[in-house]
């Protein structure tokens, strides 16, 4: 029971809006001590996992490229390109991206999207460009909402597409877990049963994207004098 103190630290820390990095470090120390490890043993468990998970941070190698492209005006270009297509609204653009992200992830092509590679340099500016060409300059709150939706759409498309691919980590984890419990399942069967939820995700999030268009039309009515 005592080990749940670490979870309590997390919940409290996030609720109080303290710095998440400090909260996570504190939760790790509290959990280790509550489990009866001494401080060196706790640091060792934390440090070993911190070292073994270095590869997670290697994605930042992409930032010089994104920076160079943005310096040459990639975001502006993405905006103008979409702004020229008059029938494209922000919601419809994101809906199209959702569909493409789901289908490519279902084929195992999960690296075709991503927040640093696609959303920041291309998808978010395109959504803003589409909204601005229709409604004029956006108020900040609406601009931020649109960007948040661009990021959310990438996540939803990835999460509820990838499980249709038979060789994805989560499918292999399910198969492996059942195997150690004496139940043999086929990855293909698992991936088939991911399809109903994938369709529901497309319908639910897609509807919200269309509603986002309505809200843009309502809240971003251009001031004609400008």
């Amino acid at each position: 029971m005592l080990v749940l103190l670490g979870v309590a630290v997390m919940v409290l820390g996030f609720a109080l809006r303290l710095n998440p990095l400090a909260v996570v470090a504190a939760a790790a120390i509290v959990t280790g001590l509550a489990a009866g490890f001494d401080i060196v043993a706790t640091l060792t468990v934390l440090g070993k996992a911190f070292r073994e998970n270095r590869y997670i941070s290697i994605v930042w190698l992409i930032l010089p490229l994104i920076g160079l492209l943005e310096r040459e005006g990639l975001q502006e270009r993405a905006r103008t390109l979409i702004g020229r297509m008059k029938s494209v609204t922000a919601g419809r653009l994101l809906l199209l991206y959702l569909l493409i992200r789901q289908i490519t992830a279902a084929l195992g092509l999960t690296s075709l999207g991503g927040q640093a590679q696609m959303v920041r340099p291309l998808i978010a500016p395109m959504a803003e460009g589409a909204a601005e060409s229709r409604h004029g300059p956006l108020p900040d709150a609406l601009r931020y909402r649109l960007r948040a939706f661009a990021a959310a759409t990438d996540n939803v498309g990835l999460f509820f597409g990838e499980d249709i691919f038979i060789a994805i980590a989560s499918i292999l984890l399910i198969k492996g877990f059942f195997e150690t419990n004496g139940i043999i399942v086929q990855p293909f069967d698992l991936s088939v049963w991911a399809i109903p939820t994938a369709i529901a995700a497309l319908l639910i999030h897609g509807t919200r994207l269309i509603l986002l268009d309505r809200r843009l039309a309502k809240d971003a009515t251009p001031e004609m004098s400008k």
Binding site: A49, E76, D154
Partner: protein, 324 residues
């Protein structure tokens, strides 16, 4: 050639030194940014990460742990900041000049990452694999990044230091959030060592009403989502919840189908992933990347989708799992 550390196949043996040099360069570049009042904090932060990349395997793990705590402390005491970018009036004009060509370098990375991942197992040199199959995705991604960066440097006739400065500026705007995914993964390992999952699984079984097929399904899907939200990762939640509720109740007592239960159970966990700051690389890092003032803005945009989908998953599982 005895004494040479084998560099083939490419894997962490090349990625970690490369990452270490990169973060070291970031630290130095940050130190030279006089517009950032906290440049010493930034330099220390990324410099410490460079140490873990370059020397992590040589250091005792307690020291690696101490470095993690130090980095968190730098962030916690507000020692990480960012500079002021000089205005760049030529940007719109440059973007006109490049036209649609500007998208080419942006597309090199995903294409190379994709092709590399799919073909890694066929690439050999003297019968030896060129790329470590276990790290094919990561190696291909980094190869794509390097190729695209080189293309952009040549195309724009830019100096490598310009690329570094621009990249560092972006990393400054991501700030401490850039380390959050790695530190959360480490916290997950501490949770496992302390058996946090087992304790929560026991609590769920003790306190939840599980006396019918519907109650078991609701407890399982909602439990997956909640536990995933706490751990930040559906992979950590799945074995615990399935061993505690899924197998004993849904499969063994009520004779449900394990395949349907497993598939929809994992997807219920993904609904939890959409709602939690613990899944930092999906939820918190993008808010930083997109320069949103509210760091929970992405989570807020996802909450209705996640809630409705969890409901759909629960209904789907109840309707399907006892029927096949």
């Amino acid at each position: 050639m005895i004494g040479f550390k084998p560099i083939l196949p490419f894997g962490f043996n090349v990625l970690y030194p490369l990452g270490g040099l990169f973060f070291m360069a970031i630290a130095i570049s940050g130190l030279l940014d006089h517009s950032n009042p906290k440049r010493w904090g930034n330099a220390a932060f990324w410099g410490l990460l460079a140490v873990v990349f370059l020397a992590g395997d040589l250091l005792p793990d307690a020291v690696n742990g101490l470095i993690a705590i130090l980095m968190a402390a730098l962030a916690g005491f507000g020692q990480i900041g960012k500079g002021v970018a000089a205005p760049d009036p030529g940007r719109q004009a440059r973007s006109e000049r490049w036209g649609e060509w500007l998208f080419i370098p942006a597309l090199i990375t995903p294409v190379v990452a994709l092709v590399g991942t799919k073909t890694a197992k066929y690439l050999t040199l003297n019968g030896q694999p060129l790329i470590d199959p276990k790290q094919a995705t990561l190696v291909s991604l980094v190869a794509g990044i390097l190729l695209a960066t080189a293309t952009a440097l040549i195309m724009f006739r830019a100096k490598p230091t310009t690329a570094l400065t621009e990249g560092r500026r972006l990393l400054d705007s991501v700030g401490w959030a850039g380390l959050l995914p790695q530190l959360l993964a480490a916290l997950g390992a501490v949770f496992v060592a302390a058996k946090v999952g087992d304790v929560i699984g026991n609590l769920a079984v003790t306190w939840l009403p599980l006396d019918g097929p519907l109650a078991a399904v609701v407890a399982y899907t909602v439990g997956m989502a909640l536990f995933t939200a706490i751990m930040g990762n559906a992979f950590a939640a799945f074995p615990v919840m399935t061993a505690a509720i899924g197998l004993p109740l849904i499969v063994h007592r009520f004779h449900g189908d394990p395949v349907i239960m497993g598939a929809i159970g994992m997807l219920s966990g993904f609904c939890g992933t959409l709602t939690t700051p613990m899944a930092a690389n999906f939820n918190i890092v993008p808010a930083a990347l997109l320069e949103l003032p509210d760091r929970n803005a992405v989570i807020k945009a996802q909450l209705p989708t996640a809630g409705l989908l969890l409901l759909v998953n629960t209904v789907l599982m109840y309707v399907l799992v006892y029927r096949f």
